[in-house]
């Protein structure tokens, strides 16, 4: 007699939308992050936030200069 085991629903029917998004994920970035400590990951995020803020400020300054 066959035994039944609990199988998560996602395994039986993986979401095709999520699967499509997964194709675009850069695994090299994830592998690099997984080698870091939790604190290093958080500090990296903070650096990225600072970088984005600087780029936005530079863009805004350029728009004002053109106007």
């Amino acid at each position: 007699m066959a035994t039944s085991a609990y199988v998560p629903l996602d395994v039986l029917s993986p979401d095709p939308v999520i699967a499509r998004y997964k194709e675009g994920i850069d695994r090299t970035l994830i592998r690099e992050n997984l080698r870091k400590t939790h604190e290093q990951r958080l500090l990296m995020l903070q650096q990225m936030q600072e970088f984005v803020a600087e780029v936005r400020a530079a863009g805004e300054a350029m728009r004002q200069k053109k106007a």
Binding site: I18, Y21, R27
Partner: protein
């Protein structure tokens, strides 16, 4: 920008019961996506509400996106009357949530956490399966890529 060290140290040193969720929890799991606020689930006991106020009041919490000058008072009574607060502070945006979609209130969330050593103390953040569940429950378009990345992180961990 979020000054993680300042905000988390303030919460920890005041003994606040909280769990990191959302994008910052994803970062702690290894996500490469950039998030712009610190989302927390907080315990809603009267003592913990007082501790939250003591921890965050020095950083001038105010309702994010609200016009200046509203009679918003960041105290335990305000926290008691509400549930979810999206705030701006001098140290960056912080969201205080009383419940998490797909998971529940703090007591339930606290059963699905992992620990991280951050800035000299131990903090709790949502485990990856619960994080995926919460993002699926939220049902926002922007979460689809986040869910895909979290599932990829799970795969990479198992390699």
């Amino acid at each position: 920008m979020i000054q993680f060290r300042t905000l988390l140290s303030a919460l920890q040193s005041n003994g606040v019961a909280f769990v990191i969720i959302g994008g910052v929890a994803a970062t702690l799991h290894g996500s490469a996506r950039v998030t712009y606020d610190l989302d927390l689930i907080y315990e809603r006991s009267p003592d913990n509400l007082e501790r939250i106020v003591a921890a965050l009041k020095p950083y001038d919490p105010y309702l994010r996106g609200a016009p200046p000058g509203l009679p918003f008072k960041f105290d335990s009574e305000t926290l008691k009357r509400g549930l979810n607060f999206t705030l701006t502070t001098t140290e960056g945006p912080i969201d205080l949530l009383g419940e998490l979609s797909g998971i529940g209130p703090y007591d339930t969330v606290a059963q699905h956490t992992v620990e991280a050593e951050l800035f000299g103390s131990t903090v709790h953040f949502l485990d990856i399966d619960a994080l995926i569940t919460s993002k699926k429950a939220a049902g926002r378009a922007k979460d689809l890529e986040a869910i895909a990345e979290l599932e990829t992180i799970k795969e990479e961990r198992q390699r």
